[in-house]
């Protein structure tokens, strides 16, 4: 606010001085020039009348010649003053208006408004840097869960788009470079209600700068950063970025899992993708030789995963030098039949169209399918706008980096343990994964699956902490008991238990809970609400433990105490 006032005042300096001087000279002139009253006596205008006359003359209201008709000398002077004052007024008004239309001024106004909006937030919010497709998806999902957010993006058109996207609540947004610490601070990095920073711009370097700045200024603030290269990922990791998300790495992992271990893949899919319906028998992806079109960041990540899992792959890349491709590749884009034939498409089992161009990717898939109709197809969809054509192309797996990113980020926000769980299951046997899948299917049926984690602590699970304070045992079994009827279980599956550095997959129900235990659950959303309620309410906990159903507030306990004592006395 102050800076706006100062800018306005500074710009007003010259017009003000000009007006003062013009008025002064005009008034002085009228005081000096001899006049005449009705009777022709010489009369000198005083400062009072001069100021009065100049005041209305300069605004061209023109009440006439007051108090006596002017002499010609006075009229001559009035004429000069009239033009001088009117011109200086026009100049002054123009100067004021130009301040309001000044880009710098508008920018400062917007910044100030943004600062104020952020300061006023009184609910937990995420600071999202970068409002691209990922940002949009994440914001929509946060809005569904009624979690607030603050948006910073470098491009004004994205901020404008945000104003059009109807989210149901006001999202403070700023067009600015989030890698600058002052912008981050204005966006609420130090705000008490800021619960995390998402660095998801499409520029790796900017993400790095955001992560460093927020880690240095607020070391305890969780930072989720997007990156598309290994170097940056290592760099981000080195100073303690909480979560690093690489969409290409994640997808190549996902695809390899689909090929090598379909059950793992089904579980992964089910847990990360809320709309996904699990299949009791996951689709079997073919084993054999694959073709990868495009050896960019995605192609490289995919090839590494393929080599690790002993999957043979032929690479098609138009520019092997720039991408540092290995020698045994086929040169070309892959959209022409010649190139695909050279890569022996007829003998391949699957094709990955992973270039950065959506039209090329579609063309690759169409051409390849014509040459080999049994081909398993995977295409990378870069733009959300192309969704309809990709859907129409009957592609087996569509890779959408932004959707991938936003699902990943939402899992991290909902239940940070989920990512650990997904990493852990990769080392598990298929039979174990099948078992978990069946359990989940029994519990959830056809409804959408939600995941959440509960941490045993005095502030998150007040009731359990109280019970533990009384040296009583509280088992995991009790946590999954329905608080409305203790004989049945809530429709949830405990997936992972975390304590200090220890992880227990599918923890047993007779596990004794300790302070600091974090447990990852999967199940129905409604069950998560029941569970959270039961962890805080001491009456419910007593009911779950002992089956005693009654009001157990301190006041009631005191009253029943008095009552039982008096009744004893009566006897």
């Amino acid at each position: 606010m102050n800076s706006i006032l100062f800018i306005l005042l500074r710009r007003l300096r010259a017009p003000m001085i000009l007006l003062i001087i013009v008025y002064a000279v005009s008034i002085l002139g009228f005081v000096q020039i001899p006049g005449m009253d009705h009777e022709g006596n010489p009369w000198q205008m005083g400062f009072f009348h001069a100021f009065y006359f100049v005041s209305f003359m300069s605004t061209t209201i023109g009440f006439g010649e007051i108090p006596y008709p002017f002499t010609d000398a006075q009229r001559f002077w009035a004429l000069i003053c009239l033009y001088a004052t009117v011109v200086s007024w026009i100049y002054s008004v123009g100067a004021v208006l130009s301040v309001f239309r000044d880009d710098a001024f508008i920018r400062i106004m917007k910044r100030n408004r943004f600062q104020k909006q952020v300061k006023r937030i009184a609910e937990p919010f995420y600071l999202i840097c970068g409002y691209g497709e990922t940002g949009l998806l994440v914001l929509n999902k946060l809005a569904e869960r009624n979690i607030h957010a603050v948006i910073v993006d470098v491009q004004q058109n994205r901020i404008d788009a945000l104003e059009v996207d109807n989210l149901g609540y006001k999202v403070p947004s700023l067009c600015g470079d989030a890698s600058r610490p002052d912008v981050l601070q204005d966006a609420g990095l130090k705000h008490n209600y800021c619960i995390g920073v998402l660095a998801i711009t499409n520029n790796d370097h900017a993400n790095l700068a955001i992560s460093i700045a927020s880690k240095l200024i607020m070391p305890n603030r969780p930072v989720i950063s997007r990156t598309e290269s290994r170097d940056y990922a290592a760099n981000l990791d080195s100073f303690g970025t909480d979560h690093i998300v690489d969409p290409f790495e994640a997808f190549s992992n996902y695809l390899t899992m689909a090929i090598c271990s379909p059950y793992h893949h089904a579980l992964y899919d089910w847990l990360t993708n809320p709309e996904h319906r699990a299949l009791s028998e996951p689709a079997q992806s073919p084993k054999g030789r694959w073709i990868i079109c495009g050896f960019g960041r995605f192609g490289k990540a995919l090839r590494q995963q393929f080599i690790k899992n002993h999957i043979e792959a032929t690479i098609i890349e138009p520019d092997p030098k720039a991408t540092q491709a290995p020698d045994d590749i086929v040169i070309g884009i892959g959209t022409e039949a010649v190139t695909l034939c050279e890569a022996h498409v007829e003998g391949a089992v699957g094709i990955v169209a992973g270039t950065a161009d959506d039209a090329n990717n579609l063309s690759i898939i169409m051409t390849a399918k014509e040459l080999n109709p049994t081909l398993y197809t995977v295409a990378r969809q870069n733009e959300q706008a192309n969704e309809d054509i990709f859907d129409a192309a009957e592609i087996d797996i569509i890779m959408k980096p932004s959707v991938m990113m936003s699902n990943h980020i939402m899992s991290l926000i909902k239940a940070p343990l989920l990512i650990n769980f997904l990493k852990k299951i990769q080392q598990e046997e298929t039979t174990w994964v099948k078992q978990i899948l069946t359990q989940l299917e029994d519990v959830i049926g056809n409804q959408s699956l939600d995941s959440w984690s509960v941490t045993v602590s005095p502030w998150e699970t007040e009731g359990i902490a109280e019970i533990m304070g009384q040296q009583k045992d509280y088992l995991l079994k009790h946590l999954v008991t329905d608080p409305d009827d203790r004989t049945i279980h809530l429709p949830v599956v405990p997936l992972l238990l975390h304590h200090d550095d220890q992880y227990i997959l599918a923890p047993p129900l007779n596990h004794k809970l300790k302070m600091g235990d974090s447990i990852l659950f999967s199940g129905h959303y409604q069950a998560s609400r029941k569970m959270r309620w039961a962890t805080n309410d001491i009456t419910t906990i007593h009911y779950i433990l002992n089956g005693i159903n009654g009001l157990e507030s301190p006041l009631w306990r005191w009253l029943t105490g008095i009552f039982s004592r008096t009744s004893k006395n009566d006897i």
Partner: protein, 127 residues
């Protein structure tokens, strides 16, 4: 030499000197106090105020405040003068003149503060 500083200091010192010129003389004797001097004092004081606009430093803010005080005192003196002549139509009685001159005396003090601040600022600059 900084032209802007010269103009700035010129108007601040001029505001003080003109104000002092008007103030000088018997307090209730209108012959010792010219109306032109009051007019000049007001105009110069206004210009000095406008020149102090938009300075974000601490000393700049105090300078602006002293100028506003001087403006207020002088304008009240001028309004009183006008009222005495044209509204109350009692003419410039010694009581009115004394009131006007003492008001300008207040403005004089504000202008003195202004000049002292200006000197302090000048002394702080080591160039």
């Amino acid at each position: 030499m900084n032209t802007e500083k010269v103009v700035f200091a010129f108007f601040i010192v001029l505001a003080l000197t003109v104000n002092f010129g008007f103030f000088l003389g018997d307090i209730d004797n209108i012959d010792h106090h010219a109306v032109y001097e009051l007019f000049a004092a007001i105009i110069i004081s206004f210009i000095a105020t406008a020149m102090k606009f938009g300075d974000r430093t601490y000393i700049g803010a105090v300078l602006l405040a002293t100028s506003l005080v001087a403006d207020l005192q002088l304008v009240v003196a001028a309004v009183d003068w006008g009222l005495a002549l044209h509204v109350r139509e009692e003419g410039l009685t010694p009581a009115t003149v004394a009131r006007i001159v003492s008001l300008s005396g207040g403005a004089l003090l504000a202008n003195v503060t202004s000049v002292i601040l200006l000197m302090i600022e000048a002394a702080l600059v080591r160039r």
